[in-house]
Symmetry: C2
Subunit: 105 residues, 2 copies
């Protein structure tokens, strides 16, 4: 599949965008990129996200196979989030999005 001869319009670009669009998703992925983190850590790293929204975005990322949720049956509860292989394949995409925005034209 050639990158310099794309044909079938941009149907599919929307799909990728739907996965990473969500107010806190890029930031969540960025932090998890540095390593596995517990829920409380993420909450502190993304303090402006309300618990409802934060959990919601984590669930969506998990549902889309971008991150993995591991729950430990302990008291108190412990939950760890990490990036999956599919999620790591997203790094170049996010990097390019970031790069474009910082580009001077």
């Amino acid at each position: 599949m050639e990158m310099n001869q794309l044909n079938s319009s941009y149907i599919g670009a929307e799909y990728t965008m739907s996965i990473i669009s969500g107010k806190w998703k890029p930031l969540i992925i960025y932090h998890l990129r540095q390593g596995t983190k517990r829920y409380g850590q993420i909450k502190r790293l993304v303090p402006d996200a309300s618990p409802k929204v934060l959990i919601q975005q984590l669930k969506e990322l998990e549902h889309d196979g971008i991150i993995n949720r591991k729950s430990y049956p302990e008291v108190p509860p412990k939950v760890e989030y990490s990036v999956t292989a599919k999620g790591r394949s997203l790094y170049p995409v996010l990097d390019l999005l970031w790069f474009w925005s910082h580009q001077k034209l």
Copy 2:
């Protein structure tokens, strides 16, 4: 600026996404990529977009410097839309978004 050592989180990725997120924007850019088009042509190429929304997305793309609007003072009116240099710099981004969505993992 190194692509393999991004630091300042992903602030900026959201900015790029905000520019191309909009229900018909990728499709509009795709069609304009084939060459300058009149409003009526775009309307026919993106038939499911209502006139209000279509004009709205075209205006946003114009405001963000992605496309150019050229109006000819004729009767009947004639308006042409084309992609700017900044818009063309967006092709690799859209291509990568498209490519990622078609990738098998």
